[in-house]
């Protein structure tokens, strides 16, 4: 349970430390037996596989753990079990089909991938969105952040052994998903945020439904506090477990709640505002110790901040169009197709050939519930991206696992994986 050593000042020492006294087990996927044979001298050391089919690994994450008794020494996350080549697939899908692909990456927070993809496309097109489209996107993303963090509360509770938490977390998340379904038509994988705006305007009665949710949630979150935050067993399992400091987080490229848990306030919504986040008020929640408990508390309180943002969005939602009126990018309304030859042509062109995007390259990033989610896109001037790369926060954050787990018990490993909150769909893409 010892904290990782603090970062050494000089660059060379740091490099040596990383390579030699490292927490990362750098061996091939098949080399576990060989390492054990070589180590030979000590009977207590063994290499153990955890996963890929393990309920606490949130999907198909495999960990190779070098164990000394019940203590984890070095470890290596082995990934790729969910790899389906989505970046390759993206090179065959038009810009309008693209969101259907990226939405399947981070399946707990699909709207953020759609948003990053759409923002990259719009940057290449040079599109300026109508204000309502921007605010609808913000509304949807905050709802999605709530549902994603609720899912974390549920799975985190379950991993630690607070099984009733799973039921409560799941119940609240389902209510958030029901609202997303009312608006987008789907619980997950919405394909709602598209280049040029969103797929449809908000349905009648959306305001009441959002109000119902944000009225109900705070009391439920207080119940979470009663159930978990003050509970001695729960705190005992999380406090001081999986500690990381700011310098290590920055060196490892870590973003999101893990970075903020070290007391470092960095949130793209506040520090590099996109959409209309500069027009709403919210606090960036930070921790103090960088342990599992801080990461739990940050996510719980980020739900409260999202509720605050939602209340402001309800007040400020502007009227107007929900997508940009550019005939080359947005399909015409259904009724227009019957009246206008040109509308029919545009409709046909957009859905068969897709719209062409000027050549160039761009990187657009949003603050997803897991950290900076970026989309790097290269266009060659045709209707499909030449290259589309998603910088997944889970993929990068996963690299902290060996540092967090080193010196801890194997039971802590479960709590640590849970607190990193990786979504394997996004890690493997």
């Amino acid at each position: 349970m010892s904290a990782p050593e603090s970062t050494v000042e000089t660059a060379t020492d740091e490099a040596v430390r990383r390579r030699d006294n490292s927490a990362v087990l750098r061996i091939g996927e098949d080399d576990g037996e060989r390492l054990e044979a070589e180590a030979g001298t000590s009977d207590t050391s063994m290499v153990m596989n955890m996963g890929p089919q393990h309920p606490s690994t949130h999907g198909v994450l495999r960990l190779m753990l070098e164990m000394e008794g019940e203590t984890v020494m070095r470890s290596k996350p082995v990934i790729g079990y969910l790899h389906t080549g989505m970046e390759k697939t993206a090179e065959t899908l038009t810009y309008l089909q693209g969101p259907t692909n990226v939405t399947r990456m981070d399946y707990a927070a699909p709207l953020f991938s759609e948003l990053a993809f759409s923002m990259a496309t719009e940057a290449l097109l040079g599109l300026e969105l109508p204000p309502r489209a921007t605010w609808i996107r913000m509304l949807m993303c905050e709802l999605n952040r709530i549902s994603s963090h609720l899912l974390f509360q549920a799975t985190n509770g379950m991993d630690i052994g607070a099984v009733s938490m799973m039921l409560y977390g799941w119940r609240e998340r389902e209510e958030a998903l029901r609202l997303l379904e009312t608006i987008t038509g789907l619980r997950m994988n919405h394909n709602y945020i598209r280049p040029g705006g969103v797929a449809a305007d908000l349905p009648d009665g959306w305001r009441d439904e959002v109000l119902t949710l944000i009225d109900k949630l705070p009391a439920r979150l207080n119940e979470f506090d009663t159930l978990l935050t003050g509970q001695p067993i729960y705190r005992e399992r999380l406090q001081g477990v999986g500690v990381i400091n700011t310098a290590e987080c920055l060196a490892l490229g870590v973003t999101g709640p893990i970075l903020r848990s070290t007391g470092y306030a960095w949130d793209l919504r506040r520090d590099m505002p996109y959409l209309a986040y500069d027009q709403v008020e919210f606090d960036v929640v930070v921790g103090t110790y960088g342990d599992c408990f801080d990461r739990y508390a940050i996510r719980l309180n980020e739900i409260r901040e999202s509720i605050r943002i939602l209340a402001q969005i309800l007040d400020q939602m502007p009227p107007g169009d929900y997508r940009v009126q550019d005939k080359k990018v947005t399909p015409p309304p259904r009724a227009r197709i019957d009246e206008s030859m040109e509308a029919l042509i545009h409709h046909f062109k957009i859905f068969t050939e897709g719209f062409k995007v000027p050549a160039g390259e761009v990187y657009a990033a949003v603050e997803s519930p897991r950290g900076e989610l970026g989309c790097y896109m290269v266009s060659d001037g045709s209707a499909v991206p030449y290259r589309m790369h998603i910088r997944g926060p889970s993929f990068v954050n996963l690299q902290t696992l060996p540092y967090l787990m080193r010196g801890g018990m194997v039971a802590d490993a479960v709590a640590i994986i849970s607190s990193v909150d990786p979504i394997m769909g996004e890690v493997d893409r």
Binding site: T92, G253, Y386
Partner: protein
């Protein structure tokens, strides 16, 4: 959205990145690559940069003065090596493994040059433009 872009020759990558790190670019967000094999015409390169088949793209972020910088490095197809940024930003380890896996670009000095997403015995580099979509047979090692 207006990230600054800098074209860096391969042999100056390390010193450029370490210089930028001292300037306040505290974190390496992303390392990826592009295979320009089938690109019809590249007009976004400055005249002094000779286009090559591969391009390594490194994104760094500065927090003090919020902003990102994107470094674009040309990598010729007949010499696919670039220096690893691991010693400057250890967080690039997984990202560089991904680039090596998907494009076959070698990172000199990388501590763990193994495949990350594809199986260890996979042949070829899927994100190259001459690697066909849906190529069969599917390669998996036999059960042992």
């Amino acid at each position: 959205m207006s990230d600054s872009v800098r074209h860096v020759p391969r042999d100056q990558l390390i010193e450029t990145v370490s210089g930028l790190r001292d300037e306040g670019y505290v974190s390496a967000l992303d390392v990826t690559a592009v295979d320009y094999l089938e690109h019809p015409g590249r007009h976004d390169l400055p005249p002094e940069v000779a286009p090559e088949r591969f391009e390594l793209v490194v994104t760094l972020i500065s927090h003090a003065a919020p902003g990102r910088i994107r470094l674009r490095v040309q990598v010729p197809a007949d010499d696919l090596t670039v220096p690893s940024l691991f010693d400057l930003f250890p967080g690039t380890e997984a990202l560089e493994r991904e680039v090596a896996d998907m494009f076959g670009i070698d990172f000199e000095g990388h501590p763990d040059p193994t495949r990350i997403l594809m199986p260890p015995d996979w042949e070829g580099h899927p994100l190259r433009k001459d690697f066909a979509v849906g190529r069969i047979p599917v390669q998996f090692k036999a059960t042992r």
